[in-house]
């Protein structure tokens, strides 16, 4: 596959791994947080941790859209879907996130609610056109990557006068979450989370650019390297972070130059600014209430705002007490530190949101990496050779 295989070249990976091992100083540790679930997934799927020296440790961040969605918001969506005649559409990962009362959108669907998986906001618009006699609500989630398509859908509905279409907006913004982590007690006071640097988002940065991270690098003295989601991107970014830390630099560097500029996508940003504005506060699973961390639909497009149209009232719901998703999303704990991990909580029966999406830290570790926790791992035979 052209333009893909080049970024999954095993021989190049080994060269990068050797460079990281050679340059990482044995006298210090490197705690690097990959903010995005896309990076978490790549690290687990390609077994990148195996290629790193023991003093370079990756900490999974909160950048998994469904993981940070609080239970109360899913409850709201399920209540919406219970309205007679209403069609609720959403991205597939959202379907299995656990809600109150043992429910999820998937289970609500089995109870007869009309809930549909869509690949894009355009599919939700199409449903609204096809069912003019029914209300169609798009349950919109995600970071800056999925925000522009939602904005486009709202503008399109406005242009077409699609009165039966609305959006339940749960879009969140990345910089606020990074600030929240850097400002947290765990990082600033307690020192329970050592954070030496960040791998910056890939797709999010194609939209917002690299400029918004300059503040973190300067204010918190942490280097940020924006990286693509392919495994070689991640390896290269780790090497760049190790070099910055060795040289005492804290700068924003861009490994993902094939897609990210300093300014980002001006057109997408303009469309988002036309449709959305910041909420004063929004609850994140794991991080709690985070000021100015999410978007709502502007007054001008209010008729497409499902929260206004249906009078949605948000009620915060506490996570399962034993669930460590919160601490895992803040980087304080690892999936294996949770006693529910792999016992009560599995991808088939997720208790917490980190076990739901393939980008979630728990799901990624359970799916790809848990053999490393096993006491005995089978004897490795010779590499099979094809005749």
């Amino acid at each position: 596959m052209k333009y893909i295989d080049e970024f999954r070249d095993g021989a190049l990976a080994r060269r990068l791994a050797a460079a990281i091992a050679a340059e990482a100083l044995p006298s210090r540790r490197y705690h690097l947080m990959e903010f995005c679930g896309g990076h978490t997934h790549a690290i687990s799927r390609y077994g990148l941790a195996d290629l790193l020296p023991p003093n370079v440790r990756m900490i999974h961040g909160p950048g998994c859209p469904v993981c940070v969605l609080p239970i109360g918001r899913i409850d709201n969506a399920i209540e919406l879907a219970a309205r007679p005649g209403l069609i609720l559409c959403t991205y597939a990962d959202t379907m299995r996130v656990p809600a109150s009362g043992g429910l999820s959108l998937m289970k609500a669907k089995a109870l007869g609610r009309d809930i549909r998986m869509v690949y894009s906001s355009a599919d939700a618009l199409r449903l609204a056109r096809e069912h003019p006699d029914r209300d169609v609500v798009f349950f919109a989630i995600g970071f800056e990557t999925t925000t522009p398509p939602t904005a486009v859908a709202i503008r399109q509905a406005d242009a077409e006068g699609l009165a039966n279409f609305s959006v339940f907006c749960n879009h969140v913004v990345t910089p606020a979450a990074i600030s929240n982590i850097l400002e947290s007690k765990d990082v600033r006071e307690l020192g329970t989370v050592a954070l030496d640097g960040f791998i910056g988002p890939a797709h999010v940065s194609t939209v917002i650019g690299s400029e918004p991270y300059e503040y973190f690098a300067e204010e918190y003295a942490r280097p940020v390297v924006i990286a693509g989601f392919e495994p070689l991107d991640v390896m290269q970014a780790i090497l760049m972070l190790v070099r910055q830390l060795n040289e005492g630099r804290a700068e924003v560097e861009n490994e993902f130059t094939r897609a990210v500029t300093r300014e980002g996508n001006a057109k997408a940003k303009a469309i988002v600014a036309d449709v959305f504005e910041l909420r004063k506060t929004f609850e994140w699973r794991g991080l709690g209430e985070v000021p100015y961390s999410a978007l709502r639909i502007k007054e001008r497009y209010r008729r497409f705002d499902a929260e206004a149209r249906y009078g949605i009232v948000y009620q915060s719901v506490a996570d399962n007490k034993a669930c460590e998703c919160g601490a895992i999303l803040r980087g304080v704990k690892r999936p294996v530190d949770c006693r529910l991990f792999g016992t009560a909580c599995t991808p088939e029966n997720p208790m917490g949101s980190c076990m739901v999406s393939s980008e979630g830290a728990c799901a990624a570790h359970y799916t790809y990496g848990r053999f490393k926790d096993a006491a005995i791992v089978g004897e490795r035979p010779q590499e099979p050779a094809n005749a």
């Binding site: 799927r45 390609y46 077994g47 490795r380 005749a387």
Partner: protein, 346 residues
């Protein structure tokens, strides 16, 4: 034989209605003019409630499979030939020579008879090619909205030749895992047609009857331990089943698993892993190491095993993990499929 029906069934414009499942004349006419004509064999012509067949001595294998694929017609096949291949393959994966099939149809009121005829004729052609006759069947009709066009359940029986002992619990550490060809073709062919995906590919389903390949394999290596066709859940799920049944682990080498570039590209685009995408004309076998080279050569000389490759090995692992050395150089678990990657794939 003179036909007792005044007018023939209108296969051009007609549609299934409730009388076609009512047990009366309309049903009898549909059976006569469609099913009997297409499948055409002595057992069906006897017109009994079941088929009385001669069975050679040996161990009888019986397997059944329901088919609900959507859409009904796809590149490389349709629900008709798929329902024949699927059950023949299940019987063959037990090491048996498939002998006879039974077919049950659930039709939805309003389904075009032209489509039904196309499906039944495709089934008949597949059964004829495979030399495994459909010897008995059943038709029911459900009201509009209670089905989705047509569902087909097929059941097959076969006989295991003496000296053959194939079972999912027989893999032993050191055994070799061989895959018969490229993975993911069927699933991607179906996905390319699904209305809300809207991309077109040149990929056709790999649906095929594998009993000929299996017969050649068993002749070359009677000591084959496991055979399985990686349908729903793909290769990953099949290997996890075999590891659990056999109480061992399996180690794979990603770089040895054949995937067509266009399938890999489509999976990349859709965020799917080809290891979990369904196949309908592939098999995975586990054999003792001393048989591996001979078996591989036999498979590669068969048209349905042309791209066969050794992809891994059974290992000692009390946790029964399927592990994989990634092409990238790391190692990871290849876990059971979680949830439903793509509903109604077969």
């Amino acid at each position: 034989m003179t036909r007792p029906y005044v007018r023939p069934v209108d296969f051009r414009h007609g549609r299934v209605d409730m009388t076609h499942g009512g047990g009366g004349r309309a049903m009898a006419q549909l059976v006569d003019e469609l099913f009997l004509r297409a499948f055409d064999n002595d057992w069906l012509r006897q017109g009994n409630d079941g088929a009385r067949v001669d069975v050679p001595a040996g161990r009888l294998v019986m397997s059944t499979d329901s088919h609900v694929v959507s859409p009904l017609f796809f590149p490389g096949g349709d629900i008709g030939c798929l329902s024949v291949h699927g059950t023949i393959n299940d019987v063959a994966m037990c090491g048996a020579t498939p002998l006879y099939l039974a077919a049950g149809f659930v039709l939805e009121e309003g389904f075009p008879l032209a489509d039904l005829r196309r499906i039944v004729e495709s089934m008949a052609a597949a059964a004829k090619d495979a030399q495994v006759p459909v010897v008995t069947g059943d038709t029911k009709v459900v009201e509009q909205g209670k089905g989705d066009g047509v569902f087909i359940t097929t059941t097959g029986v076969g006989i295991v030749p003496s000296g053959i002992d194939v079972s999912g619990d027989r893999a032993r550490p050191g055994d070799v895992v061989i895959l018969s060809g490229t993975i993911g073709d069927h699933g991607v062919a179906i996905m390319s047609l699904r209305e809300n995906l809207g991309f077109e590919t040149a990929i056709a389903s790999d649906t095929a009857a594998l009993h000929g390949l299996v017969a050649a394999m068993l002749a070359a290596a009677p000591g084959i331990r496991c055979l399985r066709d990686p349908t729903r859940g793909g290769l990953a799920t099949t290997l996890n089943e075999l590891a659990r049944q056999s109480g061992c682990g399996i180690a794979l080498a990603e770089s040895h698993i054949p995937v067509r570039p266009e399938v890999a590209a489509a999976c990349e685009f859709l965020g799917l892993d080809p290891l979990y995408v369904a196949n309908e004309g592939k098999l995975v076998t586990i054999c003792p190491p001393e048989d591996a080279d001979r078996l591989l050569a036999t498979m590669r000389s068969h048209p349905l095993g042309h791209d066969a490759a050794i992809v891994g090995e059974a290992i000692v692992d009390p946790h029964h993990f399927v592990q994989m050395d990634t092409s990238f150089g790391g190692r990871r678990v290849v876990d059971w499929l979680t949830g439903e990657q793509l509903p109604r794939i077969c």
